[in-house]
């Protein structure tokens, strides 16, 4: 009942809004045409599904695979700390105080409203409070079919004191030419004293398009180690917003984004501090090659209520070949005086002396480039021991490799 009302409200907003265009600062550098839903039909059915790239994680504490339209493939498992899988309505019934967070009733842009209006699959993962989950939990979202769109809407609630690791995977077909559009919305609530490692791995097919809106809220003394690996898809519009709402909350955020041949990665991050003595660290690293383009927009925002904030944002970009381009726009918006906030950004090429050194040891240039690029991303890869590091390194290298151009 409530969900219907919400969907209706979203549809009404959707009908009033225009698709974002270049007049909007946040979208000014995004190739909105590539994300135009007019090119896509809705939604994918079970019969149309193909086989996705499998992320080789051997020891999962539980796994949930969502494919296509409201298709739950398996049960999540029953290990200690595993989530209960609820519908969004059930989730809100259980946690009515958090209704405004999960169903805010306002939408940042038309893609956001479209996601609420035409959600293709939604669920509420309720991780139990006070439990420690030993092995990572995997949420795999396969959305594979030509010319289709999907609009997953995922709610995650980590109960107070929950400890463990969650991996969210957006999979596409290996070398597939599937031109699909994924418009995803993720809302994550980390309870008091929770300790969460959250990795998002995106390896959609090379013709896929991804719009991603994520809001992650940290309550008092919550700790989150969050990383994104944006490797696949031809066009990505990512918007990840962290709200540090509880005193003492701590965030460590990271991202690896690669733009290989003609790919466009538009990555946006906000570290918003709403409570005193909160800490955030963000390290976002990107590499572009073969006419690939990346746009990084970052913002540390400290509200009046957040004295004692300690925030840092670092963005590093590697431009590997001629014709590729990296834009960096890190920002600070500081509304209170008792803070320590800074950001740093660098954009450059590989160090020629390092390249020379490796080549003088008999390593071919392409291999030397690969080794040095891997080296740049290594500190982010090792933050998540639950991920298959070699597999990730290969995917990253593959997305940037020289090829024909």
């Amino acid at each position: 009942m409530m969900m219907n009302t919400y969907t209706e409200a979203a549809t009404a907003v959707l009908n009033k809004m225009n698709w974002p265009d270049k007049k909007n600062e946040i979208w000014r550098r995004t190739p909105v045409g590539l994300l135009d839903p007019i090119n896509f039909k809705s939604p994918v059915t079970a019969e149309e599904l193909q086989t996705p790239v499998q992320i080789p994680i051997e020891e999962a504490g539980g796994m949930l695979i969502y494919s296509g339209s409201s298709l739950r493939v398996n049960e999540p498992g029953d290990a200690e700390g595993c989530p209960q899988v609820l519908s969004p309505e059930e989730g809100i019934e259980r946690y009515p105080d958090e209704k405004d967070f999960f169903f805010p009733g306002e939408w940042s842009d038309r893609f956001d409203a479209w996601n609420s209006s035409e959600t293709t699959h939604s669920l509420f993962l309720d991780f139990p409070k006070g439990k420690v989950m030993e092995k990572p939990f995997i949420l795999r979202m396969d959305s594979l079919s030509r010319d289709r769109f999907s609009a997953p809407r995922i709610f995650v609630r980590f109960g107070d004191g929950w400890q463990g690791r969650l991996i969210v995977v957006y999979s596409g077909s290996a070398e597939g030419q599937d031109k699909e559009l994924v418009n995803s919305s993720l809302r994550i609530w980390a309870g008091k004293n929770s300790h969460v490692s959250l990795a998002e791995v995106q390896t959609l097919g090379i013709e896929s398009r991804l719009v991603q809106n994520s809001l992650i809220l940290l309550n008092r003394d919550a700790y989150m180690n969050h990383s994104q690996f944006q490797i696949g898809a031809s066009a990505v519009k990512n918007n990840t917003v962290f709200h540090l709402m509880g005193e003492g909350a701590e965030l460590q955020a990271g991202s690896v984004y690669t733009s290989g041949k003609d790919q466009h990665k538009d990555i946006r991050l906000e570290q918003r501090h709403f409570a005193p003595q909160t800490t955030s660290r963000a390290l976002y690293k990107g590499a572009v090659s073969r006419r690939g383009r990346s746009v990084f927009q970052g913002m540390i925002q400290v509200e009046h209520e957040a004295p004692g904030t300690d925030a840092y944002l670092s963005n590093k970009n590697l431009v590997l070949t001629k014709g590729s381009r990296a834009d960096a726009i890190p920002g600070l918006k500081i509304l209170v005086d008792d803070v320590k906030c800074s950001h740093g950004s660098t954009t450059g090429k590989l160090d020629p002396s390092q390249l020379f050194y490796l080549m003088s040891r008999g390593i071919p240039k392409s291999e030397a480039v690969r080794i040095l690029t891997e080296g740049m991303f290594e500190e982010l890869i090792v933050r998540h021991s639950e991920l298959p590091a070699d597999w990730l390194r290969d995917r990253i290298a593959h997305s940037l490799e020289p090829g024909e151009n």
Binding site: P307, K322, D327, I329, L332, K333, V336, V339, S345, G348
Partner: protein, 464 residues
């Protein structure tokens, strides 16, 4: 510590009764533009330039980013006020009240000491101008742009509006339509102007828009340092200052442009400043922004020739009710070009300071190096600081760095200084002085003293 500065010793909140000999009607239309042009006996090409600019101004929307400019009423402004009949070359001939205004700002004293030249602009017109003879002998031209249009028309016509076209942005168009006064500097090939050329701009009338226009041309291998200072008294209604500054540094030339602005707190200060640096040339902007109601100013350098270098050093002090939206832009358009942007801002009593900058490389240029550092100091809980650096890197052979920091005065530093017997105010002042030191060091001595005194005044009463 020396004798504490008294606010009465140094303030710009005075004005003399306006004694203009001519002013246009309020508001902006073709008639006003024609009147300005006719009063200046301009050639037709300049009148046409003005009229085209007016069209462009009408066409363009107000900028919707940055400071809120909705308080500007273009119809409630006098666009041209002529304060005195003639420009004079002798200080003795300047009317007493204008002279005293400048006296209180301190120019004559500075000039008596060693200055090369002072062009002083009072409302729309340059009223006093002097240039040492030995510079004139070397072919250096330093005059108001009206004289330049009359006497050096060819040079002006060749360069005027080439760096900032008449339709560049709404306020550049406005300036292009109604500009009056400013400076024209021409430095011939190989000439080093060893002492700074200086100009002062002052708004004395209320509801007035000041639109000075400055054009600096440094021929191959030359050097010049140009300094301007700006002030305005406080009126109950707002004033508008919208200048355009164009610099052309030809092959291996070096131009340094320093500004210390201290507009009163009801001036909208919306300025377009841009330089072209050709092969091997260096352009440096040193920009101090105090006062004003809202400032939007981003001095920029287009590095057009190989090995060109751009440097922007800016400081902003945002006090009560003030918004300082400043920064710098560098476009790397050629190989082996380098740039450095250093920005320092201080926000106090609810003031808001913003760094907005751009470093951009053209596709395929090689060996680009750029470094941007922004430091912001927030002195109380009501003040804010924002940083928006844009880096658009279109080449695989660049090394671009940006760093920004926001903090408040360190408790440890304060404690240390106070434990040595300084009052909290003195200690804060000392830390702020240290914070802006890199900028002050770049200024000639009397400007450094002025900047320090201004900061000291702004800091007065900031503690307790």
């Amino acid at each position: 510590m020396g004798k504490p500065l008294q606010k009465e010793d140094y303030k710009f909140g005075f004005n003399y009764p306006e004694r203009s000999v001519f002013k246009t009607e309020k508001g902006l239309n073709e008639e006003v533009v024609k009147q300005i042009s006719s009063h200046k006996n301009e050639p037709e090409w300049m009148l046409n330039f003005r009229l085209k600019s007016l069209e462009a101004f009408r066409r363009q929307p107000m900028p919707n980013w940055g400071a809120d400019l909705s308080g500007i009423d273009f119809e409630d402004i006098y666009y041209y006020i002529k304060p005195t009949e003639e420009m004079t070359r002798s200080w003795d001939d300047v009317p007493d009240d204008i002279k005293e205004t400048f006296d209180r700002i301190g120019i004559p004293e500075a000039e008596r000491k060693f200055l090369a030249g002072v062009g002083a602009q009072y409302d729309s017109e340059v009223v006093y101008h002097n240039l040492k003879k030995h510079l004139e002998d070397q072919g250096v031209i330093f005059c108001d742009p009206e004289t330049a249009v009359r006497e050096h028309g060819d040079i002006v016509r060749e360069h005027f509006g080439t760096v900032i076209p008449f339709g560049d942005n709404k306020f550049a168009s406005l300036n292009s339509a109604v500009w009056s006064g400013g400076s024209f500097v021409y430095v011939p090939k190989g000439v080093h102007v060893d002492i700074p050329l200086q100009a002062y701009f002052r708004i004395n009338s209320k509801n007035f828009g000041q639109f000075e226009r400055t054009l600096i041309i440094a021929e191959e291998g030359s050097f010049v340092h140009y300094i301007e200072g700006c002030t305005a008294p406080t009126f109950s209604s707002d004033s508008l200052h919208s200048a355009v500054v164009e610099i052309i540094a030809k092959k291996n030339a070096r131009v340094r442009y320093s500004t210390i602005q201290n507009w009163s707190s009801n001036v909208y200060n919306l300025v377009t400043k841009r330089a072209h640096a050709h092969e091997g040339a260096t352009v440096e902007w040193v920009d101090g922004n105090l006062g004003s109601k809202k400032t939007m100013k981003y001095p920029s350098v287009f590095l057009l020739g190989e090995r060109a270098h751009g440097e922007i050093l800016s400081i902003a002090f945002a006090g009560k009710g003030q918004e300082q939206d400043t920064g710098g832009k560098v476009i790397h358009g050629a190989d082996n070009t380098t740039s450095v942007i250093t920005s320092k801002s201080i926000s106090k009593d609810g003031g808001s300071s913003t760094y907005r900058g751009l470093v951009k490389t053209k596709p395929g240029v090689r060996n680009i190096r750029s470094s941007v550092v922004c430091d912001a100091l927030i002195l109380d809980g009501d003040s804010t600081s924002h940083t928006y650096p844009y880096m658009e890197i279109n080449t695989d052979d660049a090394s671009i760095e940006h760093e920004a920091r926001v903090s408040r005065i360190s408790e440890t530093q304060l404690f240390y200084l106070m434990s040595r017997g300084l009052s909290e105010e003195e200690a804060s002042m000392m830390i702020v002085n240290g914070f802006i030191d890199p900028l002050v060091k770049q200024l000639p001595m009397e400007y450094a003293v002025e900047l320090n005194r201004l900061i000291e005044l702004e800091m007065e009463g900031s503690v307790g």
